[in-house]
C-alpha cells in the first residue's frame, strides 16, 4: 500500500535548501536563489486544496431567484421564502493516475450525502488554493470527509501521479413555496444550481393559447379564401387572441 505524506505550502529547494511557496498546478519551479529547476513529484503526497467562495450569501440568494424564475419552474417560485442558507466547504477526492501510459483523472466521493448535485461528483471550476491553517473559512462549515482516501488508493487502476482532496464551496438553500419546503445546492464558485425536485410549471396554458390562435387563424384563412373574405376577420381575431392571451399567460402562468 502507498503511504501518503502531506504536502506543505512551503517547500525547499533540494540543492540549496531555500524555501519557496508551492501553488496548485505547479509542477516545475525555478529556485529563486540558486536557479535550480525543481521538479515537484506529487505521487507520494496528498494535497489539501480549497476553492474559495466567489458568491456572497446575498448574491447566492439572487442567483437562486434567477434560477427559480426560469421557464421550467412554477410561476412565483422566485418569490419563495428563504428558510435558510448554509455555506459549506464540501470535500471530494481527485486522483490523477497513469493507466497504460495515459493520464486518467478519477473523482471519488469523500463524504456520503443526500444533498442534490453532490452525487454528480465533479470538481467545480475555480481558483484553487492550498488549504492550510492560514485559510480562513469564515462562517462556512468545513464538512469532514468520512470516506478514507486509502480505501480508494488500493482499488484504483494504474500508478499514482497526484492525489488531492478538494474542498469546494456550496450553499444549501432551503426555501418554502406554497407551504412546502424544498432545497437546492448551489456551487458558490460558478453559480450552478442543483436540485432533486422543484415545483414545475405547466405547459398547458401556453399550449392552449398557441393552439387557439393557430386554429382560429387557420379556419379564418380557409373561409376567407374559399367561402367569403369576411373569414379573414376570424384570422384577425385569432391574432389579437394570440398576442393578448400570450401576454397574459407569459406574465401570469
Amino acid at each position: 500500500m502507498v503511504k501518503l505524506g502531506f504536502a506543505m505550502v512551503t517547500m525547499n529547494c533540494p540543492k540549496c535548501g531555500a524555501p519557496f511557496e508551492y501553488e496548485p498546478g505547479m509542477r516545475f519551479k525555478k529556485c529563486d536563489y540558486c536557479g535550480t529547476m525543481i521538479y515537484i513529484d506529487k505521487s507520494r503526497v496528498m494535497f489539501y486544496y480549497v476553492i474559495p467562495f466567489s458568491l456572497s450569501k446575498q448574491q447566492a440568494i439572487q442567483t437562486f431567484r434567477r434560477w427559480a424564475a426560469g421557464p421550467k419552474m412554477e410561476k412565483g417560485l422566485e418569490n419563495s421564502k428563504i428558510k435558510s442558507i448554509k455555506p459549506m466547504f464540501f470535500p471530494v477526492y481527485r486522483f490523477v493516475r497513469t493507466v497504460n501510459g495515459k493520464e486518467q483523472v478519477i473523482i471519488k466521493p469523500a463524504k456520503t450525502t443526500l444533498l442534490p448535485g453532490l452525487t454528480k461528483l465533479k470538481v467545480p471550476p475555480g481558483d484553487m488554493k492550498i488549504f492550510d491553517a492560514s485559510f480562513n473559512p469564515g462562517d462556512a462549515e468545513i464538512v469532514k470527509a468520512d470516506l478514507s482516501m486509502d480505501t480508494y488508493m488500493q482499488a484504483l487502476p494504474g500508478k499514482e501521479k497526484e492525489q488531492e482532496i478538494v474542498f469546494f464551496p456550496i450553499y444549501e438553500i432551503r426555501y418554502e413555496f406554497q407551504g412546502k419546503e424544498y432545497n437546492v445546492v448551489m456551487d458558490a464558485s460558478s453559480g450552478e444550481v442543483f436540485t432533486s425536485y422543484y415545483p414545475p410549471r405547466s405547459s398547458v396554458p401556453y399550449l392552449a393559447i398557441a393552439g387557439t390562435t393557430f386554429i382560429l387563424t387557420a379556419i379564418g384563412a380557409a373561409i376567407g379564401t374559399m367561402v367569403h373574405p369576411t373569414g379573414w376577420l376570424v384570422t384577425l381575431f385569432g391574432l389579437i387572441v394570440g398576442i393578448g392571451g400570450g401576454y397574459y399567460i407569459a406574465k401570469k402562468y
Binding site: 505524506g5 504536502a7 517547500m11 529547494c13 540543492k15 496548485p24 498546478g25 519551479k29 525555478k30 536557479g35 535550480t36 529547476m37 515537484i40 513529484d41 507520494r44 503526497v45 448574491q59 439572487q62 424564475a69 421550467k72 422566485e78 495515459k102 493520464e103 483523472v105 463524504k111 456520503t112 442534490p116 448535485g117 452525487t119 465533479k122 471550476p125 475555480g126 481558483d127 484553487m128 470516506l147 488500493q154 456551487d187 464558485s189 453559480g191 450552478e192 444550481v193 425536485y197 401556453y206 398557441a210 390562435t213 393557430f214 386554429i215 382560429l216 387563424t217 387557420a218 384563412a221 379564401t225 384570422t235 385569432g238 391574432l239 394570440g242 400570450g246 401576454y247 407569459a250 406574465k251
Partner: protein, 330 residues
Amino acid sequence: MKLTFGLNCPSCGGRVDIKEGDKIAICPFCHTVSLVQGDDDVSVLAYRMRVNEKQAMATVHKWFKKGLKARDLKKVAKLVEVYSVYLPFWKYNSIGLGVICGYNYETHTDANGNTVREKVYKEKQVRKDYVWTRIACDAGDIGITHLRNTEGEVIPLPDDMPKYEATTSKDDAKLNAEQEIQKWILKEANIENVTFHREFVIPKGFVLLYYPVWIIRYDYKGKMYFLTIDGVTGRVLSGRAPGDPVWQSLAIGTGATVSGILTGLTPAGMEIDYRLGVTMFLLGLAIFAGAYYFFRYGSEIVEGDLPKPYRMGGKLKFGTLYVLGKQVRP
C-alpha cells in the same frame, strides 16, 4: 519523503535550465546531452488580455439592448461584479487528412426537360488544419466549453488575475480531440452516403492554454444574471438575461397566425400543385414550433454553451437521490 527534485546535469552536477516541455537538455558546462524524461507534461501558456474594463463595460451595455431581452434591461440592470479570470483550455492543433468515398444523389433537368435523379459517385481527399479546444475544468454555469477564437498574443503564465485550475485529464482531452477532428474531416468531404473512409490526425501541438475572460454579474429586479466576455476579441461568449413577456406574446401571436394562415391556405395550395400545399403546411408547422418554444421558454434568454431551457427537461433528471456510501464499493 522527497517531494522535489533539482534538475542538474547527471554528468557534472552543473545547473541545467530546462523549460517545461523540453525533451532534450544540453549542459552549459560539460555539454552533456541529456534526455528529459519521466513527465510528459504539456506546455502551459496564456493569451494576453486585450480588453480593458471600460471596453468590457461598453460591450455589456450594447449586449443589454441586443436581441429579445427585457426591454428595460439597460435601464434597470445593476452591475454587481466585474472581474477577469484565466480559464484553462486544452488546445490541440493538427493537420487532418482523409480519404472519403461514397455517393450523393443529385437531381438535374435533362435535354428533354425531365427531372432526373442520379447517383453520383464521389472520391474526396481532405487536407486541412484543425484547432480543437475544450475547457480543462468543469464548465459549471460559466457557459463556455470551447473557444471561438484560437489566436492571441502568447505570454508566460501571469500572476495578475486568478487562474482556474485545470482538473480534467490531458490524455482524455487528446483522445476526444482526435475523435472529434476525425468527424470534422468526414464532414468536410460532404458525402451523403459514405462507403469508405479513413482519417488521419497529425498532431502539431497540444497545450494547456489559459484564456482571459471577463465575468460580469448583474442584478435585475432582485435576480442575479451574468455574462462572459472574451478577453482577446471582446465578444460575448455566454450569458443569461431576463426575457420580456411582450416579445413572447408577439412571437406566439404572429408565429401562430402565420402558421395558421399557411395551414388554412394549404387546401388552396394543393389545388395549384400538391408540392406547394405540402411545403406550406410543413413551413407552417416549423414556424409554429419555433414560435411556441420562444413563447414557452423565452422568459430567460440563454446564450453560449449553457443548457438550453427546452432541452433541460432531460438534463434535469440528474437529481436521483441515492446514498453515496452504497455506490462506493472499494
